[in-house]
Symmetry: C2
Subunit: 241 residues, 2 copies
């Protein structure tokens, strides 16, 4: 990799959760062997159960992690973007990827050898602790999601999804842009596109938010938290929900 690219890549790595607190120098060991590629929508990065050689870091775009069942159904595990790493936990999964991954919005993705990461974990306790924190974060997120599947209905789940896109700023109003297809959001929330469409209508009527294509206008974010989080166990109101 050329020096300029290497520096750019190392800077990206400093934004990755598991590398928090690491210096550019410490991260140079990755840029030596890293590879950056461009991907277009619908490209597969890797498949479930494949032997894992690389971890991937997203510089730009969106990537879907999913699992496919024998009869063709798919469960969307997560949808990731800039600064997020994936495939790294194959280290703890017999060296195989636990999910398949597919690009859902044109992306630039770097890949780093798992062997380097693996060696680094066993010698650097700080990295292991960072990964623990990170994995704990995702476990919490998953736990919340399971809870939502059990106790929330479709419109409420969409409300929670919108709240997660909301970045707190001045004032209670917000203008949110849906970052990818509604069909994909529906899959992410475990419902059919038709259900999503109808639930979105219901959500509009019941909370007063306005949706026009991929744009969501919210006058008062607290109406949404009231509506969606009443059946959450999270502290209410919560941006986490």
């Amino acid at each position: 990799m050329a020096q300029l690219l290497r520096d750019q890549f190392s800077t990206l790595l400093t934004q990755v959760a598991i590398f928090e607190g690491f210096s550019l120098e410490e991260l140079q060991q990755y840029s030596d062997k890293a590879i950056g590629k461009s991907y277009t929508k619908k490209q597969i990065v890797y498949l479930q159960d494949e032997k894992a050689e690389w971890a991937y870091v997203i510089q730009r775009g969106w990537v879907k992690l999913f699992r496919e069942t024998l009869d063709g159904d798919e469960a969307v595990v997560d949808i990731l973007t800039t600064g997020q790493i994936f495939g790294d936990t194959a280290i703890f999964n017999d060296g195989c990827y636990a999910c398949s991954s597919e690009v859902v919005e044109d992306a630039v993705i770097y890949q780093i050898p798992l062997s380097v990461l693996n060696a680094h974990i066993t010698t650097n306790n700080k990295l292991a602790l960072n990964m623990l924190h990170n994995m704990s974060y995702f476990r919490k997120k998953q736990t919340r999601e399971l809870e939502h599947m059990k106790v929330q209905n479709a419109p409420q789940r969409i409300g929670c999804f919108l709240l997660q896109l909301y970045k707190p700023r001045t004032g209670p109003s917000a203008l949110i842009h849906l970052p990818y297809d509604k069909i994909l959001i529906a899959a992410r929330l475990g419902m059919q596109p038709e259900t999503f469409s109808r639930a979105l209508l219901k959500l509009q009527h019941e909370t007063g938010i306005r949706i026009q294509g991929a744009t969501v206008e919210i006058d008062d974010i607290s109406v949404l938290t009231d509506y969606s989080c009443s059946s959450c166990s999270s502290t209410h109101p919560s941006a986490e929900c």
Copy 2:
């Protein structure tokens, strides 16, 4: 703690996943400050969001981890038994418990100070790696559970639950004893007791298994995997499912 108890406790700790590969000597640091207690059904061990001082190790009995929503619904996160640790991940959750925990079958539970565990993690990379492996295991389990909530119906989810209770032995037949109330199993699987009862009937008719009170008789385990795992993404057939 008396020496005899201490030894007994250290032996229990060697069975705990995150302490795998540790010697009795290394584990002595816990027995100094550990406390063992008996609990009866329905006793609360700790509540969600409480400041966490202890991690708990089950010697005997069953414990439910759950989250309660504002409007009284509860989501059962997990149900644990002998040799399992809980509350330990509060270390990565701002020092607060992420779930409440309640004894569901009379239990003996030891508690160890989180401060000792926390100190141990930062100095002992092996422990950190063990915890990573363990957390990865639970993440996988949760991912599978989320998938099941999205793609399986009630009888199939019960089938998977039974498969998890099945410990492979000689031959394809099995006699399983349900370890706790059906109401609790229903909650664990995210369904109503009535639904559970009816789904169990359907499962009997469609797979030929026989259920008498808390006893489950299965002639051929593969019938159950065929029935339940057809819509799983796990390698089929799988004890994991």
